[in-house]
Each structure stands twice: as structure tokens, then as C-alpha cells.
Symmetry: C2
Subunit: 186 residues, 2 copies
Amino acid sequence: MPATSSTPSHLGCALLGLLARAPSTGYDLARRMQRPVGYFWSARHSQIYPELARLERAGLVVHQVVDGAGPRPTKRYAVTPAGMAALRAWVGEEAQPQPVRDLETLRLWSVWTVEPETARGLVRQARAGHEEALHAYQAELSSIAGQPEAQDRSHPLFASVLTLEGGVRTRRAAVEWCDWMLQRLG
Amino acid sequence: MPATSSTPSHLGCALLGLLARAPSTGYDLARRMQRPVGYFWSARHSQIYPELARLERAGLVVHQVVDGAGPRPTKRYAVTPAGMAALRAWVGEEAQPQPVRDLETLRLWSVWTVEPETARGLVRQARAGHEEALHAYQAELSSIAGQPEAQDRSHPLFASVLTLEGGVRTRRAAVEWCDWMLQRLG
DNA sequence: CCTTTCATGTAATGGGTTACATGATTCG
DNA sequence: CGAATCATGTAACCCATTACATGAAAGG
């Protein structure tokens, strides 16, 4: 008897995407979630472990106990055929526009209430953050863009290049925007 | 006896920012939260009403009962001097890099698992969304950029121009990125 | 010896969405 | 006469963060 198949949560789909690229332990997923997935999604281990259990109950992943250093048995998870199907279905879904949540812009929106020097400091900080991210994306991108698999549309690296290119472009635009603002703030 | 003054929640600061521009009822704040603030932050009325009560308990806003059409008394809120100070303090705070949460990119990251035509559909949808947002921002921007107050660094409209310019630049970059991806996806 | 890394879990709390609830006025 | 707008609130639920808890091995 298969579990009722509603699409898993966003986090569940993120984990399926990670496991479809390489089977992992929960601990390992938490690390991969920081980098490189953290560029566009994030989760802590405290959220990952219960979600893995939910995915397994739904038949989308299975685990196998392996040797490890923790006090409890170390579990290596892998995607099942049903899990792969769920991932594909989710990717193909109609995407409804998600609400934006940008704390930096929210703060900037009230920048008229503070001293010019405070405002400049705020923008300089934002610029530094965007530039740092830009460099990280560019480094990651140049390390994989040369590999032949990056040309293959059905290979994970192909998708990695697409997302990294997006990161590079938006961060570059953000840095330019900060420079434009610094000019206006005299 | 003033309330203990820890910085309010992000939502609280968003509401202070709205009220600093113009006193409003909770209902009105919910509408303004959709547009134009919805470009970078959002909240429902069910979240706004309790937060207004919290801000009032902290002495950052006050309300005045006015004539209105609802079954309960209609309340118009305004920022107090303490509220204005809290808003300024929050804007000047050290900004720690916030975790990104981009569902569109997360989906794209698993695009290697689906058929090329599905992938193209996904990118076309994303492109349409970004282009629609771009046009909305440009329209809003051109409606205020001409006004003389938009040049005054201590006027709300000045900050509106900054945020809208950022929206235009990032959405433009996103549209170009989608076109770049469509080329690669044949 | 102390810190880091491996490794998995739970509990408390905060933030956010959806749904429930009420009721007058205005417009088609 | 039904739908939309004005107008405020509560309750249930989901998602996410922080903190609590345990314990071995490796390296400085």
C-alpha cells in the first residue's frame, strides 16, 4: 500500500534534490545545505532529521545503516524511484509567484529617517555582502564550468551552472546598484 | 515607566516604516503591505493586528478611534517619538547576512531530472514573472521619479526611488538570465 | 586536555499562512 | 439580491530557529 502522494514540502523537495545527486547521511545533507545549496536555500539539522523520517514514511527515500562515529546508528539515505518521480513532478509544477522577503531592501526603504552617514554605512555594508557572494559564486562556477558534464542537459552539473550563473548576474547587478546609490548619497 | 526596549520584530519595523510615512488603520496597512511594500516584504492582516497591539504595549505606536465601517471600532495608528527612535536605531543596525530563500532557483537546481521541454517551460514561466514585476516597478518608479521631493534625502520618496531602482535592476538581470538559459536549453 | 568533527535526535519558541467569525455599506 | 469593500479580531496549524542532549575519535 503506497502512501498518499501529495507533493512534499519545499524542504522535502530540496532534500530529494540533494539525494538525487548523491546519497548522504543527515549530517552530510546539513553540510551540503550550507554550501553550495545555501546560495538559494537553507535548513538546519534539527529540521532535516524529522523531514527525512517523513520522506521515508512516504516511501520517497530509504536508509541503510552504515559505520559512523555518532552515538546513534549512522544512516545513509537514498532516493527511491517514487522519490525520483516526486522530484520530477515538483520541478514540472506550475510555479506561482512567491512573496519576496528582502530585509536589506526593507531597511533601505526607511533610510530617509537617518543621517546621511548612517545611510552610506548601510549601503557600503550591503555592497560588501553582495561582492563577497559574487566572488564565491564565480569561484564555484569556474571550478565546474570547464568540465564536459556541464554541457550535458541531464547531468547535475548542468543545473549547477545555470543556478550559479543566476547568482553571479543578480549579485553583480546588486553591487552596481549599491554603487549607484552611493553616488546619490553623496 | 517605559517598556523594555529591545528591537521589535522585522514585521514590527516594517509597520513602523509604513506608519512613519503615513498614519493608517490596520486594514490600510494590510493593503499598503501588498503594494508597494509587497515588492520586498509582505504580511497578512492576521499577523498585522496582533503586532500593532504589541507595538502599542511597547509604546512605539498609539491609536485613536475614528469613524469607520467595521463591526468593531476603527483604529488609526501613528508612530510615537519612541517609535521613530526605534525605527532609526533599527535602520542603523549592523546587518548580518540573511539566508537566501529562492524557490525558483531551488527548482531549477533539479532541472537536470526533467525533459528539455519541461525545463524550457519552467524558465519561460520564470521569465514572465520577472518581466511582469519589472514593468510594475518601472511604472511605479516613473510616477514618482519626477517629483522634486524624490531628490530630498530626508523625504520618504527618496527612499522609494532607491528601492524601486534596485527592483528594476535585479529583475532586469533576472530576465536576461532567463534568456541566456533559454539559449542553452535549445 | 580542550576543541573540532562526526552523528543523531528532541523541545521550546517564534514567525507566518489559512481558515473562522462578524457586520455595515456600496455597487452592479 | 449577491458580491466587493471596509474593518477587526482569534484559532489552528505549519515551518524554522535556537537551545538542549549525548558520545566517540582525532588533532593541536
